[in-house]
Symmetry: C2
Amino acid sequence: MSLDPASIVAAPPGAALVDSLAAIVGRRHVIAPDEDQEPYLVDWRGRYHGRAAAVVKPADTAEVAEVVRLCARAGVVVVPQGGNTGMCGAATPDGSGQAVVLRLDRLNRIRAISALANSITVEAGCILQSIQEAAAGVDRLFPLSLGAEGSCQIGGNIATNAGGTAVLRYGTTRELVLGLEVVLPDGSVLNRLQGLRKNSSGYDLKQLFIGAEGTLGIITAASLKLFPRPRASALAMVALPEIEAALTLMGRLRGTVGDRLASLEAMSRGQIEVIAQNVPDVAIPFALEAPWFLLIELTDTLAGTDLRAPLEAALAETFEEGLVLDAVIAESGAQAEALWKIRHSVSEGSKRAGYVVSHDSVVPLENQAAFARNVERRILEAVPDARVVMHGHIGDGNIHVLAILDAARFPDATAAAPVAARINAVVDDETAALGGVISAEHGIGVSNRARLGRVTEPGEIALMRRVKALLDPAGIMNPGKVLPPEG
Amino acid sequence: MSLDPASIVAAPPGAALVDSLAAIVGRRHVIAPDEDQEPYLVDWRGRYHGRAAAVVKPADTAEVAEVVRLCARAGVVVVPQGGNTGMCGAATPDGSGQAVVLRLDRLNRIRAISALANSITVEAGCILQSIQEAAAGVDRLFPLSLGAEGSCQIGGNIATNAGGTAVLRYGTTRELVLGLEVVLPDGSVLNRLQGLRKNSSGYDLKQLFIGAEGTLGIITAASLKLFPRPRASALAMVALPEIEAALTLMGRLRGTVGDRLASLEAMSRGQIEVIAQNVPDVAIPFALEAPWFLLIELTDTLAGTDLRAPLEAALAETFEEGLVLDAVIAESGAQAEALWKIRHSVSEGSKRAGYVVSHDSVVPLENQAAFARNVERRILEAVPDARVVMHGHIGDGNIHVLAILDAARFPDATAAAPVAARINAVVDDETAALGGVISAEHGIGVSNRARLGRVTEPGEIALMRRVKALLDPAGIMNPGKVLPPEG
């Protein structure tokens, strides 16, 4: 398991490294610095730009392990990269040009699927949507769903413990993982892929790699939970006088429809205005007069279940009490899709509106309303010309606060850095004060590592460092990510 | 975080240790060797008998931390003990008389409960049933349910990643834990108790302590998930011609009622005979002519939901096909309770029937029927006079195989050891061959540590050892448990 220090030699010169990698994966699956590496050197938002000694695309777990062993022997840093849709630069190499970017694309097989066992075993490079489709093909649901599902890879979803719009009902990615196959930083393979529903046979080591963003090893395959497929649903979009009303509505609906409550997605008025102004073909079914809007979806696995009646009853009751100002219930699948399209246009709309300083804090549910209010007020005090909009997963305590800056004045991360630092300080301060953490579902990566220590306890970070040193003593596995800079 | 080796002094003589502990918790909360330590020195099945330098009952987390710091400085071993209902001797001290048994009883406060956030924060010594009741008091469900719920403590449930009869619907204990407070082996406190629904802010360290059986630290409090409370249910007990029929029935029911399928508990004919012969006031509603029997429970959170109709439909369909031989549907709450009583009498009945060599293997669902069949056949080949009975959680791949030996010939563990070893070898061999692990929900403790290495990969066990050494370098925290003996 441990790396023999005697075997570490100086990093080979670029051409020799490319040749060594080519010997493992074949020359056409290695991209040298003088070839078209560009798509793999920059994150999708264009915030981080790196360089690489090579981009390598192994075909299977054995090749991943061999590449990692080569890099471990040579002391070369490995940066695992999935669909490259992350929000925090965790999959981008640094500027040194010394790293190997290891793409998982070719590990894209579905190894097994069982409707009986409600499970699917997939390789890390499988696109999330292809897993959803495979599940549907056996009349099951894989519930993980998020904006990037058409291009993100499941390995990256697991490495960031992705959230999305179905956490309320089905939990985070961590809760969907039954087993993992991981290539460790010394090139050995940890196989915990059996997909057992229960296991009390020693420490659950696989948990360490979920949410570790590739800093402890490379996830190469996973066994995942499937669920019975919903066959009935009801969707409403409602206008609320204040964010607290969303929580009251959640409590009422849980009291009657229970787990049929599948999604509760809130958007501030400003968030919807940003979408309406920047994304074509999005229809907003309200005059935007209320401060908050909420998408409510109920689902049931039993075809023909009447979900509309309890939804209408809850809305009528809360309308009477002034907790709901207006409501639209989808009358068809097309209308439901149109309502969901608003929510799914959040990232695109915000990106087009300017330079976005976005946040991913999660706080205990009881503190959510205070968090939203305090953060908005304090950002506007600190940066009066910021446009503060919010959207979030109401049942999870996870409100994304976005401060949108004028793109002309703040064309890139460097220009925005001083203002972003002021905004981050406000968010981190409120997050810590209200008992939260800075990332619910996007991860830490490069973007947030310096912020982690402002919110997470020093003792906890110290223990994370010791876990990192235990698993990756040579520090070759995605260094400079997640853990705060030392000293 | 790390233990300063210079601070380790020789273990103080018994009286001095008792005095030092008394200075922390008060003299009446320390039990010296010449006082009544007996209940804390033996597991409930009477398999393991130890001795202790002291039994100590701290009042709160601060006192637990101070006791651990004292023991760390003195190089004294700490054995955490909850309700002492475990199956594997994980909470029993060894025979050296050098250990401090740390009871969590007095940490029995419910610190917070929120119906809105669907969460409860409890101390480790809370009895499971008291947590279920507190949840019911705010119209919520805490779903963990198992035979010992009237006396087991939640800290022990978490430390063994307990399963029980609701895993099919709600997951194992691990999946119910939102946050933990843990006293580490150096006496520092890791506080991850916020109860956040989502968290991608670095490594999820709390996962290490779930299922670690107190070998990495002492769980002192936990934040747990609550759920909407079921308000409708339907229960049937059916006779099956073979165990495969249970899986078919599960698939059918999942296809229609989906997650309303809450429990699927199987018992072999022999298992029910053992209960009928040994437990008073248990009514068996069938002639015991079929080889397998299955309890099926459907639940729904919406009052008045007709669950009986889809249950009857599934049973009628499978009866037609010969997959179900007979069925009883509970007509009242009292009848449902009487059926559940059969299942809940499994441990009591088996214990009274003789010396029980019990197993807790879990295999992939597809291999469950082969596992049950092969193990039964091979145990009877190896030990012809054993009585082999089985019960298990059909949807989880977890079949408990019990070999019951004549109590007159095998009065205790020592007498049974050679035969138990032959039986264990069969179970371990089949478990490994069919891709399973030896403990689904009971844990490893002392009983199973030598067996762990026969089924779990050497690389995985090596990594577990390194995690243990990282967190507990001095080896004072419940040593001799979980990890296989070295060499």
